[in-house]
Amino acid sequence: MTDSRTLARTKTLTDEPIDRAPQRRRRLTPASRLGQIALYGVLALLALVYIYPFLVQVATSFKSEQEAASNPISLIPQTFTTAAYERLFLNSDFPLWFANSAVVTILVTLGRVFFVSLAGYALARLRFRGRGLIFALVVGVMAVPSVVLLIPRFLVLNQLGMYDSYAGMVLPLLVDAAGVFIMKNFFESIPPSVEEQARIDGAGTFRVFWSVVLPMARPALITIVILSFQGSWNELTHFIVSVQDPGLFTLTRGVASLSSGQLSQGTQYPLKLAAAALMTIPVAVVFFIFQKRIMNTSEGAVKG
């Protein structure tokens, strides 16, 4: 699944074509026109393959269970019914899951933006002993696969008495090594003259950071916001090992239990698909709003 590390290397989505040659007017020969049509045809077909599952998901969530089984392909329900959504909102804990997800995501996103930009700035601009070591540690931590952390995080949370609490859900996610990496790279690219000017004017280090440098970091911050939002909204493994009280379930855990836990009696596809669709909406919204702004952050990695 897409995680922050992967997205950290996404580049700007501008509309520049592949080449930057001077725009010559190319005559459209019949051959190249045919080529164009073929190209659009292939692309359209592929796009259909990618979009159809989601369309059928929404359509099925408005069908009755029998119709979902008997007529799975159609995108228009014969009998439009909102029974699945009613059950979801009235008979299950879906609203609670949504609220928990929202709380955790907001806390984690705010926390990450703050802590990660602080650390990134310090690693990029401030000189202090052990800076190199800390940076090496951050990079090293990025290499640890999350599967190794499954069991041990649970043990540590228990040891600290934070198991089954919001603190246990939020704290471990507050910092993200990839985010530190992104911010550090970004801060290194800002010319130091502005900071120097602020210091000459007498500002302390934190003042310089907060009032001068941070506002300039908007593109990077937006990237961090998007990545954090997505990462924490879609997080599953951490919420499996950090809570078991159903009152603390987030959307991921709740929908997973709908799908295969003891709450899943029978194959109630409209209900499950409705839940899955609803949980995708917030992330999709954030994605569509900010997609133009995802910045180019991995030039170094690509050329390296």
Binding site: A69, F154, L155, N158, Q159, Q244, S257, G261, Q262, Q265
Partner: protein
Amino acid sequence: MRHSRRLMALGGVGLAATLALAGCGGSGFDDGPAASGGANGTDGGGLTSSDDALTIMIGSSGDAETAAVKEAVAAWSKDSGVDAEVIAATDLTQQLSQGFAGGNPPDLFYLATELLAGYADNGSVIAYGDQLENKGDFYPSLVQNFTYDDKFFCAPKDFSTLQLIINKNLWDKAGLTEADIPTDWDSLAAAAKKLTSGNTTGLVFSGEYQRVGAFMAEAGGRLVSEDGTTAVADSQENADALAYVKEHLADGTFAYAADVGAGWGGEALGKQLGAMTIEGNWITGALGDYPDVDPLVVELPAGPAGKGTLQFTNCWGMAADSPNQEAALSLVEYLTTAEQQLAFSKAFGPMPSVQSAAEQWTTDNPDLEAFLSGADYAQGVPTNDGVSDVFTDFNAQLATLKDGDPATILKSVQSNLEAIVG
């Protein structure tokens, strides 16, 4: 000046980190085992007592069961003055495991026969059976199931057997009568053949040992010897049973629930994907969701060795780390009285584990008599430590039974069992 400032900052950060680790640490872990060390149930007595509220965790079969248990516990709570909360687990074993590791398990929980040995071995549960007031009322075979290391660990809360459930409407529609009710394997196959048409398969059941084992019992085979000391999985009788199932899976008259698109046999019966199924008492509660289906419960047909079926039971496990075991004991006694068990039975089906309720139950549930008759000849599932992993593996192999070889499957089950049996 600079140096000392920096060192102070460093020290400050380090101190904060250490405090964070050490300070709040240990609250979960250290107290639990230490406090209940004495009460680690060697010979009864020494149950903990406190004012703490009780937590009861159940693995519910559905809304009916959850509601019934909550009602019963609430009634007891009012009487006794001790607060109690019922939690329906989404994944009982996982949540218990996390609870034990954190020193914070539920006080009472459903405990299956195959899991008792493991929990008893690592001290997670205590043996309180001998302290029960109604100890003598439980069926001896159930007590046997929950006796480990010569200690009667926990009170059986109910039990079920597997029997054959037939969809009466489809039965009549296929032109079958009472005389055709299967009494042996051949008549079962014949009935299944007649009932297979269109989307409906004659006999549908979950593809796991916990159902297929009924056929093995009817053939006279078992997984582990009665005293639990020898693995006997690769016997000819078991191979015959699996061959019979394989034959009819192949000719389409039997089917696994998953293969027809149902989660379990009950759902298949309810959605009319199967005309007959092999299930236990709990099906009565589940069929409430499918009012079109009119079920008829009959005894499973006799196999080459006579009638046979499997018996399942759970008990009320009590955590060794529970701070209020005396209250928990009193709750268990309340929940296992004949009246309470009869009430549960009415809500979601299983049979009471106390003999004093048997007559009343039969009068109340004449349609379900077959289940109780099964108790006379039912086989319990093995209870050796580690056997649930063997079940999981056996079930995984049963998924391939249609194209597979019974002898190979049984051989691997045998070797797995030999590794854990004495």
